[in-house]
């Protein structure tokens, strides 16, 4: 069935009703999270007791709002710290990977490209435990042989960063590689013919061309790091990032403060998503 072929009206309306129900299904959980952030009640549930901003700005122990909850704010800082390093590391390796796979031909290229995709296929929990095992065995070895205690190889921020970097690099490589593949090589050839050096071509032609893809990949990497749960869960210790803190609170039984945090998260990630769409639009233009 396509628009140019007439169908019974009943069928058309059933189809439309189905699509409408699908979108209600899609939006409902997000809508309730956002709405109950403003409920004047100690629990994120009905009945609706009126509108309040307490869950954002409240500072009494019973009604601790996000902006006064130092533990919550600290975990936001931890998440941002992790996401910054994950983004920087994965963008760097993704860019070199993109050049490697798009500009060079070498033996086992297909096979290595498949290996490059591997981190996407490995469940996050397993990626987490495998890195935990490896770093732990190195740390134990160092301890036994050299009597050295290497703190960063135990669960904590460094391991979380490495764990997220392991799979986010693959995604960033795919984004940047796709852009590099589309590049018109004659632009570079022209610069070489005009006597430009290798670094000058890279700096003035190739990297500016890649910039939208790098910004897009950077946004995606930052968001994926900020929102990651599975890999982080296995590698984190006392400095827990936001998703882990929220998870712990959720299991203790939550106040609408969690809704407030969630709403802020939605707004920020929504804006970042919009930004990446705009960057992509510019890229296509």
């Amino acid at each position: 069935m396509i628009p140019s072929i007439s169908q019974p009206a009943s069928l058309r309306w059933t189809y439309r009703a189905y699509i409408l129900m699908f979108y209600i299904f899609l939006i409902a959980p997000l809508a309730v999270v956002a709405t109950f952030a403003f409920n004047d009640s100690l629990f994120p549930s009905l009945p609706w007791n009126g509108f309040t901003l307490d869950w954002f700005t409240g500072d009494t122990p019973q009604r601790l709002g996000v902006f006064s909850d130092s533990a919550m704010l600290e975990s936001v800082g931890v998440s941002a710290f992790i996401a910054f390093f994950v983004t920087a590391l994965s963008l760097f390796v993704a860019t070199t990977n993109a050049f490697l796979f798009e500009r060079y031909d070498f033996r086992f290229k297909e096979f290595l490209y498949m290996l490059m995709l591997l981190p996407l296929v490995i469940p996050g929990v397993i990626l987490g435990i495998s890195i935990l095992i490896s770093s732990n065995s190195i740390a134990n070895h160092m301890d036994e042989v050299f009597n050295l205690e290497i703190e960063f190889l135990r669960p904590g921020l460094v391991l979380v960063i490495l764990g997220q970097f392991a799979f986010i690099t693959t995604i960033a490589t795919m984004v940047i590689g796709a852009r590099l593949r589309k590049m018109d090589r004659s632009l570079e050839e022209a610069a070489y013919n005009l006597g430009a050096s290798k670094t000058a071509v890279l700096r003035t032609i190739t990297l500016p061309y890649l910039r939208p893809a790098m910004v897009g990949a950077g946004i995606v990497a930052f968001l994926m790091s900020f929102e990651n749960f599975n890999t982080t869960l296995m590698l984190t210790s006392s400095d827990s990032p936001l998703t882990i803190t929220m998870f712990d609170r959720l299991r203790e039984g939550s106040t609408p403060e969690l809704n407030a945090v969630s709403l802020l998260l939605m707004i920020v990630s929504g804006m970042l998503a919009l930004l990446s769409v705009l960057v992509q639009k510019k890229e296509d233009a």
Binding site: M1, I129, S130, L223, N230
Partner: protein
């Protein structure tokens, strides 16, 4: 084509190799090594299949494993069933602005953290939640109903979380189907069902396979959704892995579970690719 000097090649290969070998390949071999050992005395280990035999002899473990596999397959099928009509509507029934609007609307929830999405379902489904209250208000039930902490709740959460990864490949593949072919099918006397079965679905097969593989892998490895929506009795295999590692501190058994989950995931992906004659690279690209 300008020839690059080999030194650049090695400079580009180095970060790639370091990243992949140190963070992906060695850790997985370490995990395999730990899974295949047994503690014989304090700090003494010997090669053994004990952890794997424990998995097969303890019913809780392999039942959880099978349950996770079966529920993941069901969630994948359900996601496909729900997503197909929606993708078809977006790809074939709409044009221009409404089309890109509805497509973007599909993507939005997935920019939001999985934790937030799951939290939303908890607010909807719990005893004091929105749906329970709605049903009471409508007079359909007399008291509060607990809709959370059962398999149906897990399924709803899994399907919801997976939706995007089904819709995107389906829309992409359906857009590439020429309307003229569908019209030709009707001109030749086909009806909606024969056209679907003989034209649309065969054409969409690569997208269906890509979507199913990705959804299955993600569902199998999911931890958050079964844990929060299923409660204590969710019995998801990743929870077993977490328990062995963090609560029981039995890394040997936990590693064996990890290897088994990886094997299951790879087996199903391999079967899917074989049946549809695709490669991993082409599946990921779409």
């Amino acid at each position: 084509m300008k020839q690059h000097s080999p030194i650049f090649f090695w400079l580009l290969l180095a970060p790639f190799a370091l990243w992949l070998i140190l963070l992906v390949i060695i850790p997985h071999f370490d995990m395999l090594g730990i899974a295949l050992r047994e503690q014989t005395a304090p700090r003494q280990y010997a090669f053994s299949f004990k952890n794997f035999s424990e998995f097969f002899t303890e019913p809780l473990y392999w039942r959880t494993f099978m349950r996770t596999a079966v529920m993941s397959i069901m969630a994948t099928a359900l996601t496909l069933l729900i997503a197909f009509p929606v993708s078809y509507y977006i790809a074939k029934m709409l044009r221009g602005r409404p089309k890109s609007f509805l497509f973007l609307l599909c993507l939005i929830p997935f920019w939001v953290s999985e934790l937030v999405r799951t939290y939303g379902w908890m607010i909807l489904l719990r005893e004091t939640g929105v749906i329970s209250n709605g049903l009471q208000w409508a007079g359909l039930v007399s008291g509060p109903v607990e809709l959370l902490y059962n398999d149906a709740a897990i399924m709803v959460g899994l399907v919801y979380t997976s939706m995007l990864f089904m819709v995107v490949p389906l829309v992409t593949v359906l857009e590439s189907l020429d309307d003229d072919i569908i019209e030709a099918s009707y001109d030749l006397g086909g009806n909606m069902w024969t056209t679907m079965r003989n034209i649309v679905i065969p054409h969409a097969m690569p997208g269906i396979v890509s979507g199913c593989i990705i959804v299955f892998m993600m569902t199998l490895g999911n931890y958050l959704t079964p844990n929060l929506l299923g409660g204590k009795d969710s019995l998801w295999f990743t929870e077993q892995i977490y328990t062995q590692f963090i609560t029981r501190f039995n890394w040997e058994l936990g590693s064996a579970f990890g290897i088994l989950l990886l094997l299951l995931s790879s087996l199903i992906v391999w079967l899917g690719l074989k049946l549809s004659k695709q490669t991993l690279t082409s599946t990921m690209a779409s």
